[in-house]
């Protein structure tokens, strides 16, 4: 097997540069590549374009890159719950491209699987469809959407092996599998890194061919955004 293991987050991030486009997995703070983000915050890179369903919160996740003004443009579906984001957006400091969540997911998957464009009903008749080709299939209106192009994808999995195979947990799966192989270089961080052959081949969510570098994350805070408990 081809071995994808790197020994540190620094090695995993080798090659990141100003102005690059990054994909980052996660939904809210669930399943975000915490270690990669933490490292990116410490690097002297900016003017980034980030594709991620959400933009973190003020002091966690992508919110930290925003605070640092490292992000030039954000491509996301939902950006509520982030005051600094809203400030930068309304002041014009931050470019924002809002995309329906299913379209965002499918545009990642399209990049992963060599589909340059596809049609979706989402956003037809709204400002999302402005300037885009629309077409009727079987009497219903659809919008043509194109695959993303990105330089790095940062994803977070639960378990992985050194061949780059990944298994995700619960709803921390979300966009992570779809971003693997969707950028020029895919960096996966995992909570548990097993030797090659440590995973059941039938249970692998993402085959190692879609991952270029894999490392075990040192620290996972896994912050909960909305702790909601059963009322007694």
């Amino acid at each position: 097997m081809i071995n994808k293991k790197v020994n540190s987050v620094s090695q995993a991030l080798e090659g990141v540069q100003d102005g690059m486009t990054f994909m980052l997995g996660g939904f809210g703070l669930c399943g975000i590549p915490e270690n990669a983000i933490e490292k990116l915050v410490s690097l002297d890179i900016s003017e980034l374009i980030c594709i991620s369903n959400n933009a973190g919160i003020d002091d966690f996740g992508l919110g930290k890159l925003l605070q640092n003004k490292q992000i030039k443009k954000m491509i996301a579906s939902y950006v509520g719950e982030n005051a600094e984001f809203e400030r930068q957006m309304l002041s014009g400091e931050l470019e924002v491209e809002l995309t329906p969540q299913g379209t965002l997911a499918e545009k990642c998957r399209a990049a992963q699987t060599g589909i340059p464009a596809f049609f979706t009903p989402a956003g037809y008749g709204t400002e999302v469809a402005e300037g885009k080709e629309t077409r009727v299939f079987n009497g219903k209106n659809y919008v043509m959407e194109e695959a993303y192009q990105a330089d790095f994808a940062f994803v977070k999995a639960w378990k992985g092996d050194e061949a780059g195979n990944l298994i995700f947990k619960g709803t921390a799966r979300n966009f992570n599998p779809l971003m693997c192989g969707a950028a020029t270089i895919t960096v996966a961080e995992v909570e548990e890194l097993l030797p090659i052959g440590g995973l059941d081949p039938n249970q692998i969510h993402i085959p190692g061919i879609l991952v270029d570098r894999i490392f075990r994350g040192n620290l996972y805070e896994k912050r909960i955004e909305q702790l909601t408990l059963k009322k007694i």
Binding site: C30, V79, Q101, G102, V128, Q226
Partner: protein
Amino acid sequence: MALDKNGIAKRIAKELQDGCYVNLGIGIPTLVANYVPQGIKVEFQSENGILGMGPFPEKGEEDADLINAGKQTITSLPGASFFDSAMSFGMIRGRHVDLTVLGAMEVSEKGDIANWKIPGKLVKGMGGAMDLVASAENIIVAMMHTNRSGVSKLLDKCSLPLTGLGCVKRIITDLAVIDIIKDGFLLVERAPNVSIEEIQNATKGKLIIQNKVPEMEF
């Protein structure tokens, strides 16, 4: 008397049919899960990647890797499954999810809905709402009849940027159950002790009143 949020949720729960897969939006729709009628089996999908969503966890049982689309900690029921966002929206676009309940800022008498942006003021983003309203077979809007300033949210035409075009089938508010038909808003039911006149006054779009309008039953 106008319903509270739980009252709206309770009335919406009556729309659930046995064997339905349901996606509940953030806010009032989330409450619907508390009122599933007895004897009926429905499954809740949350678009961040779970089918078979269960109640909120007990204290100490919460799992950061298990949340709903509102980012709340949840549990999974026996028979649940987890999947990625492409599969999740595949279910939605592919019309496998039977019913979507979501909130709105405005609904027009053509069934247009606006719920993601107030230009220059507030931009939350559409999240999964545009996919949901463009795809679901059956879409119910759950909302207050008027906004905090008392202005009607049921309009002849939406003033805010749209989420979807001609997609809403039914609106359930604190005052009424209203269907979108060819000519406008058809008043189907009144909240208990709410008069047709009250509803009329709170509705800016064309309200159609046919025959006697019954009170909601729960």
